[in-house]
């Protein structure tokens, strides 16, 4: 066996030799049985190597994998935002909060009127108006984002988004109706304003999540 020739064999097999060197090697192999045997062995090795099959692990690893997959499923319904929350989760949370807000509004709207103190009237609905405007703006932005990126989202996500927007919108409308029934109630105003701020944050987070997910 001649090392100066065998050293070229891998490059020859991989098609990395220039034509002149190939001809020289070919010429040598034609006259050297030993080197030709080495070349044939290497060829067979390279041709067979990709067909390896391996062996299954001694222990079945599937139960451990399944357990971790199940844990992932619980934590995430879809792609995750950089903050670690999937936007479906965010919107599901939005639904819950909106529903809670709607129940609270219904309670305040249907309860017996409460005597209002002078202190309660000191800031009638100022914070609510500010929050409400920002909320409308954020909801509109989410709607525009959804319209623009509808084709990039899977249908399940679009359904969740649309249902969430409807639910939140309805909850806020009910809250506004409740406040009109009891406009002087500063406590109710404060509760609804806080509720709107929370929804506002959720909507902004959902919009960010959609943008990052698409």
């Amino acid at each position: 066996m001649h090392e100066e020739w065998t050293d070229l064999m891998s490059a020859a097999i991989d098609g990395e030799l220039d034509p002149v060197t190939i001809r020289r090697l070919d010429s040598h192999l034609a006259g050297c049985a030993e080197c030709a045997g080495v070349m044939a062995d290497l060829q067979r090795l390279v041709a067979t190597a990709p067909s390896y099959q391996g062996e299954a692990p001694a222990a079945d690893l599937w139960p451990g994998i399944k357990g971790r997959i199940d844990a992932t499923k619980v934590l995430s319904f879809g792609r995750r935002s950089p903050a670690g929350f999937g936007f479906r989760e965010l919107l599901a949370a939005g639904i819950v909060m909106a529903a809670a807000g709607a129940v609270g509004s219904w309670y305040w709207a249907h309860r017996e009127p409460t005597p209002v103190t002078v202190a309660d009237r000191s800031a009638p609905g100022a914070g609510l108006e500010l929050t409400s405007t920002a909320y409308d703006s954020a909801l509109a932005e989410l709607g525009r984002t959804l319209t623009a990126r509808r084709g990039q989202l899977d249908t399940a996500t679009v359904r969740v988004l649309e249902r969430s927007i409807r639910t939140i919108d309805q909850a806020v409308a009910e809250a506004r109706a409740a406040i009109q029934r009891d406009t002087a109630n500063a406590y109710l105003n404060g509760q609804i304003a806080a509720n709107l701020r929370q929804k506002l944050n959720l909507l902004k987070a959902a919009t960010r999540a959609i943008n990052s997910a698409t």
């Binding site: 990395e16 034609a30 299954a56």
Partner: protein
Amino acid sequence: MTDVPTFQSGGESKCRSIKTMEVALTAPAWSLGTLAPSFRPGPDVDDVALAVGGDADAFERLYRRHVSKVNALARWLVAPADVEDAVQEVFIRVWEKLGTFAGQSAFGTWLHRVAVNVMLRRRQNLGRDRARVIDDEFALDAVAARPQQPELRMAIERAVDGLPPGAREIFVLHDMEGYKHDEIAELLGVDPGTSRSQLHRARMLLRKVLAS
């Protein structure tokens, strides 16, 4: 008797012309029947579609079809004590990334790319990367002493186990997984020339063992 030839150095299968060699490499009749399941489209397509939708049963079928090869990769690319964890992490990562699989290659090919990335990253995290390429110990003697396997494929797999780590990982990535030298160089942080020389070294070591 087997339809997969074993090495018989200097025997009847010598190839005296590179042109003849090229033909043999293009269509080696004795290797066509040994293509692994991961390179056939078959049931993977349906199971991938189901698994993307969250079907864990479909993903288990994918796992069972491919785990042997992923396990072999782990055996060759990570430390023995890390093999099981590496295999698990590969399939967890694949589950998480299934939505990004575009179907432009066979699922098995994509899976193996994910597997190689996961395994090499694990190794880097454990601080055992470059030392394996540079600091090789000749480890094939023990393999050579084992009884030869009846099939060349199985004999190669066993012989690869005994290659020095640096030569082994480059042989696995290049000849078994189809990576180019430039890709290997980037993955392992070595020079492409090092990758070429280690590959040739691995092939010659394997040839020596298989011919013995």
